[in-house]
């Protein structure tokens, strides 16, 4: 789950990482009001995407009036498809230097990795390798002081500088927050030096969805469409797409392959829906109902039972078909765990299932063209 900048900064503040003075505003009046205290201000659109500066999403104001005007221009605008519903109004910083600091997950090394650079403010991928310090952190021992010293040394900072000491504290606290909050990413770009103070001028925070059960104090940010949200409530992964063939498969890889094969035969999938992970027949019945909400031309159910049982799938299908009249064709492919029983359940309702995925996919594409 991605957080808006203002939320990330509020978490930073909680963990003792300095952030600029400021507050979030939902109206131009609020923005003007906040600016009264700040004097002059930066007005930053709050959207869950990067590159907002280049897209005109950040404005400057030297008075409350200007701030109100800037907020008015920004609020309601779309930036890369995301609507601006809030702006963050912050003090202008007298920036001397821009650094980059982030902690994220390194899949290859299977550990947290800290990335830091003296060339902040730009996309970290555009910074030449020699300016980037990458440090894998031992997840069992954490951000030990010596690791921070190694980072400072590798960055070429002066150990005795007051700003180095502040930087070291920020690294320690950022890691603390990263671990305590089950973060997938905590990025500060730029981390600025302004008037001798090291301050997080931006905040990108992503929290692990799987850890939500133990992070109950964290705010929830809605990134999903209505249907995606309903799917999430069922514990299923759903992504809306543009086509007309509604798809339910099990397993992320299998679901992707299902889309691939439909597209290969010229079909257009309406969604990605992974019903994997041993969802019971009740959940799957709800999932099939979800598929209907987008009014597709065909429903394609492609199940290779493993932890998912074919009898559960068959029961789900017959349950939905028994409850509501469905006008569109349902193409079923069903093999794997408890396959025979699944087929028996379908046959009892005069339904049949394919054996081969590509034959079923071809049939679904064909029906969608009619």
């Amino acid at each position: 789950m991605k957080y808006f900048e203002y939320m990330g900064k509020s978490l930073f503040k909680e963990y003792g990482i300095p952030v600029p003075d400021g507050a979030v505003a939902e109206t131009p009046d609020e923005a003007a009001e906040i600016t009264k205290k700040l004097g002059s201000a930066v007005i930053k659109s709050q959207v869950l995407t990067g590159g907002r500066g280049k897209a005109g999403g950040v404005k400057f104001a030297d008075s409350p009036e200007e701030a109100g005007k800037a907020a008015e221009e920004l609020l309601g605008q779309e930036i890369k498809g995301y609507k601006v519903e809030r702006v963050l109004v912050e003090e202008k910083l007298n920036i001397e230097k821009e650094l980059y600091l982030a902690i994220t997950i390194d899949s290859t090394k299977k550990s947290p990795v800290l990335i830091a650079s003296t060339k902040g403010g730009m996309d970290i991928e555009e910074v030449p390798e020699e300016y980037i310090v990458k440090k894998n952190i031992d997840v069992l021992t954490g951000m030990e002081p010596f690791v921070i010293r190694e980072i400072v040394s590798e960055l070429g900072f002066d150990f005795k500088a007051e700003t180095s000491k502040q930087f070291m504290k920020i690294v320690s606290k950022l890691y603390q927050a990263f671990r305590a909050l089950d973060a997938e990413l905590m990025e500060i770009n730029p981390l600025v030096i302004a008037d001798g103070q090291v301050i997080a001028a931006d905040a990108k925070v992503t929290i692990d969805d799987c850890a939500r059960y133990r992070q109950k104090d964290l705010p929830y940010v809605e990134e999903k469409t209505v249907i995606e949200k309903k799917a999430a409530e069922l514990g299923l992964a759903y992504v809306e797409l543009e086509g007309d063939i509604a798809v339910m498969a099990n397993g992320a890889g299998m679901s992707m392959a299902t889309l691939d094969i439909l597209q290969y035969y010229g079909g257009k999938p309406a969604n990605f829906l992974d019903a994997g992970g041993g969802a019971g027949s009740e959940t799957m019945a709800r999932a099939i109902e979800l598929l209907l909400e987008k009014k597709p031309r065909v429903i394609f159910i492609n199940i290779f039972g493993g932890i998912t049982r074919c009898d559960d799938v068959a029961n789900a299908i017959t349950q939905v078909l028994g409850q509501q009249k469905i006008e569109i064709p349902v193409v079923i492919r069903l093999v794997g765990t408890n396959e025979e029983e699944g087929r028996r359940i379908l046959e009892a309702q005069s339904l049949s299932a394919y054996n081969l995925m590509h034959e079923a996919a071809q049939k679904a594409v064909e029906l969608a063209r009619k």
């Binding site: 997950i105 299977k110 089950d182 890889g253």
Partner: protein, 294 residues
């Protein structure tokens, strides 16, 4: 022959009294796996499919010689179950559980390294040395002995491929599911390395997907260090950029881990890449015929 597990492997089921645990313990037994014990705290003394249940792994290990464990416990308790297995000296642990917090997964892997244990998963269907030992949740009837090794990130997609192979007359030596999460115990390279050492694996099918760079690393390894031929299938060609497709690992970001980059890396390493799952046997046939012709 096979890799990781064979007919002598004695298996523990952690979470054996749960719905999934008891069902799949039965399925594993039916497959021929030597499931010798189960663990479920507070259920010690019970039996599931005639398998004795213990309160702790330690208690199970005191009574049985256990080589591998399979974990079915809920995500919130999976890390603890894995550490419990490591601390009792179990060297192969398959974690079926999905939705384990990524920080827990990192801790599991760090501990596995300290204890010298191999982790399959999490969020995996497990692994099976066909006809010998299944430690996982895959349907029994598709895994018949043969000479093709299979390694995959995704579960059902492997079944699909394995089903296609079987249809074409190819049995499998060992089939390994790496798991769909961002942090998993085994990489393609780890498993390819084992297959390369296994005299009876004649060819390998690698089932990748978009996201991460494990397939690119595998391509490099194949190019530099492998003699056994490899055929690949990659899922996610049609996935729109930036959309998350269920797996944390399957996020397309920053142009890395795309279908194109993986496909070209593999082809560059001499690995034929199938467009559709059912084409895999054909590519395999071609590459094996080519080999035999040499």
């Amino acid at each position: 022959m096979a890799i990781y597990v064979d007919g002598d492997t004695q298996v523990l089921v952690q979470g054996i009294t749960g719905k999934q645990g008891s069902f799949h313990a039965g399925q594993m037994l039916a497959y021929g796996t030597k499931v010798v014990a189960g663990v479920s705290p507070g259920k010690g003394g019970q039996k599931v499919h005639d398998i004795p249940v213990y309160d702790t792994v330690q208690a199970a290990c005191a009574e049985h010689s256990i080589h591998a464990s399979i974990i079915f416990v809920p995500a919130a308790f999976a890390k603890d179950a894995a550490l419990e297995a490591f601390h009792s000296g179990i060297k192969l642990v398959a974690v079926i559980t999905e939705h384990i917090p990524v920080h827990d997964a990192m801790e599991i892997m760090a501990q596995a390294k300290i204890h010298g244990a191999t982790v399959v998963g999490p969020n995996t269907y497990g692994l099976v040395s066909s006809g010998l030992c299944k430690i996982g949740i895959m349907p029994n009837n598709f895994f018949k002995p043969g000479k093709i090794g299979v390694v995959a990130r995704s579960g059902t997609l492997s079944y699909e491929i394995v089903g296609n192979l079987l249809e074409a007359g190819y049995g499998t030596s060992t089939v390994v599911g790496l798991g769909g999460d961002r942090i998993v115990g085994l990489s393609f390279v780890d498993v390819l390395q084992e297959f390369e050492k296994d005299a009876e694996t004649e060819a390998i099918v690698m089932v990748g997907e978009i996201g991460g760079n494990a397939e690119e690393e595998a391509a490099e390894f194949i190019k530099s260090s492998m003699d056994t031929p490899v055929v690949a299938y990659l899922a996610g060609k049609s996935a729109p950029e930036g959309k998350r497709m269920g797996h944390a690992g399957a996020i397309i970001e920053r142009g890395k881990g795309t279908f194109a980059s993986k496909e070209s890396a593999l082809k560059n390493a001499g690995v034929p890449v199938a467009d559709l799952p059912f084409e895999v046997p054909k590519l395999l046939e071609e590459i094996l015929t080519g080999r035999r012709g040499k």
